[in-house]
């Protein structure tokens, strides 16, 4: 699992330490990758900063996207069981 936001590394590090997250939190302050994935939400951050909209992607070892979740509601995110099911579905298709 990898989390990506516009937060700088030091902010993400404090956030991880506070919340107990152990997976990588990547920093995209210039929104280059956010724009590459067309996830830019202009002016939606504190002080009108450009941020990423919430989204989740499951990518298989070949780099192919197997599942996408583009929530229409910032308060509703993918549940762990949804991601696990997508992973199982993708693994099942690969086995076939």
């Amino acid at each position: 699992m990898v989390a990506i936001s516009v937060d700088p590394p030091e902010i993400s590090k404090r956030h991880c330490q506070k919340m107990g997250f152990t997976y990588p939190f990547l920093s995209d302050p210039k929104t280059e990758v956010v724009r590459r994935y067309d996830l830019l939400h202009p002016g939606a951050g504190p002080g009108g900063a450009d941020i990423s909209r919430p989204a989740e992607f499951l990518i298989d070892p070949t780099g192919t996207i197997r599942w996408v979740n583009l929530t229409e509601n910032a308060a509703v995110r993918a549940r762990p069981e949804q991601v696990l099911k997508a992973f199982d579905d993708a693994s099942g298709q690969a086995a076939r």
Binding site: A3, P9, E32, D38, L40, H41, P54, P61, V68
Partner: protein
């Protein structure tokens, strides 16, 4: 009755910061709505008493003030919890299922560069979670 109703409305508003931590109460803020309903009912009963039996119950002046303030608090809550959260960009150009994930290299929380190809080469795949920010 009026003050208790108003306090419950305030609890309904400020407790969102707590209930938003749990998916069951974040996906749809039913607990907060229940608190607003409870507060609203008490305010209505309190107003009915204040105007119906003013010789017994007080509140003909501060009752409507509290009621209006409660309505404003509820409207502000509704604006944030039901309208603002749905203001999402269309993202019609986002990569779709079956497409190759755009490559990237970004620093992690320790400043170490991490490339998507590195993540995929040593695993069964990867889940990218784009999020708004630590706030």
């Amino acid at each position: 009755m009026l003050w208790i109703g108003f306090l419950i409305v305030l609890v309904g508003f400020f407790s969102y910061a707590f209930f938003v931590l749990f998916p069951a109460t974040r996906d749809f803020p039913w607990v907060n709505l229940a608190l607003f309903c409870a507060g609203g009912i008490l305010l209505i009963v309190g107003l009915a008493r204040a105007f119906g039996r003013p010789q017994v119950y007080r509140g003909k002046i501060f009752g409507p003030i509290l009621a209006v303030m409660s309505l404003l608090v509820f409207a502000f809550f509704g604006y944030g919890a039901f309208y603002l959260v749905r203001q999402m960009p269309a993202s019609t150009g986002a990569p779709r299922v079956g497409e190759k994930a755009p490559e990237f290299t970004l620093p992690d929380q320790n400043g170490k560069p991490v490339a998507l190809t590195d993540l995929l080469s040593s695993s069964h795949g990867a889940v990218l979670i784009f999020y708004r920010g630590h706030w």
